[in-house]
Symmetry: C3
Subunit: 138 residues, 3 copies
């Protein structure tokens, strides 16, 4: 059995940002030398999510507006979590997006469909955040 | 370590459909010869989800109505993604359902609770779609 | 390759409860002897979820209120599932929370960020429920 672990670091300029990290995950899988296995991609902070969907700017704007509708940032004082903080909505938004993904590795590559792209969604940015990638297989 | 990979193909008759695929996943695990491991079941299209819940027709109707309330199909022009397409809601609905599942394999079988059933949820059907199953273990 | 399987049992006093199970998962990983791998934590009942987020009482109250807003328990008769039962909302709530998690194991421990805590969320309690933990690696 082979295994590989690596970390990505982000510090995004806005409160909410959506970054396509597929190239970094593919590069990690290539370096791992794993031909068949599973690759977990998990944010290590609880106000961010990793998800798989389309890389299309209109859709990303739709996601952002929709998340704001279902888990709005304002009014900040509406949330009990927001005594010393203002990021309760970020904790909720990341659950809506599923928060983590497990990707199949086949023949040494991510076994993705034609439109599947891996995204890092930041919901409380402007500070350093990490994502762990862990692959096991052979 | 053993590994196995297979694909399911669907072309459902309606825009939205909910198919119990537990028998296909169980058969895949049986053929893999894996006694203890993990089995990823992942839609390769980003307008569909794989989820685990009850196989009960009333509940499936409840899910469908609830998803339409939280991420409505209409008005189609409300979504920025829908310039050449009309499926933005499908991209959102699949995130609400968690989009993929990882199932435990114990003693050569899916280690499921009494009511856990694996579903393929199609939110933009009437075209060919694929699901990848990837199991690793020993 | 090593593998380990264990089960947790819960019977919570209220319809909805949120339990931090990180110590039990860490103990399971320690006993498994796995240094590098993946650990699935999955509720075996379809009216509960396992999720990762902050252990902060204000936030837990926010989650509970938010889940009630997006998938309300009442009116019970609104749901088609609720002919002989009253737990349709619990089936929906658990999907919103992502329902299961896969955790990385690095150097024999859960590879978690500073605030990541593993929770069992019960949405239809006052009866026995099980969670399966399955780890594979080496």
């Amino acid at each position: 059995m082979k295994h590989a672990t690596d970390y990505l670091t982000f510090e995004t300029p806005n409160r909410r940002d959506y970054l396509n990290i597929t190239p970094q995950v593919e590069e990690f899988v290539r370096r791992s030398g794993i031909e068949h296995g599973l690759c977990l991609v998990n944010p290590m902070h609880i106000t961010a999510a990793v998800y798989v969907n389309d890389d299309e700017q209109g859709l990303i704007a739709d996601f952002d507006e929709w998340l704001e509708r279902l888990a709005p940032h304002e009014p900040v004082e509406h949330y009990r979590h927001n005594r010393a903080e203002d990021n309760a909505d970020a904790h909720l938004k990341r659950q809506l997006m599923g928060h983590q993904v497990v990707l199949p590795i086949t023949d040494g590559r991510l076994d993705l469909g034609p439109w599947e792209q891996v995204f890092y969604a930041e919901f409380d940015g402007r500070r350093p955040k990490r994502v762990v990638m862990k692959a096991i297989g052979e």
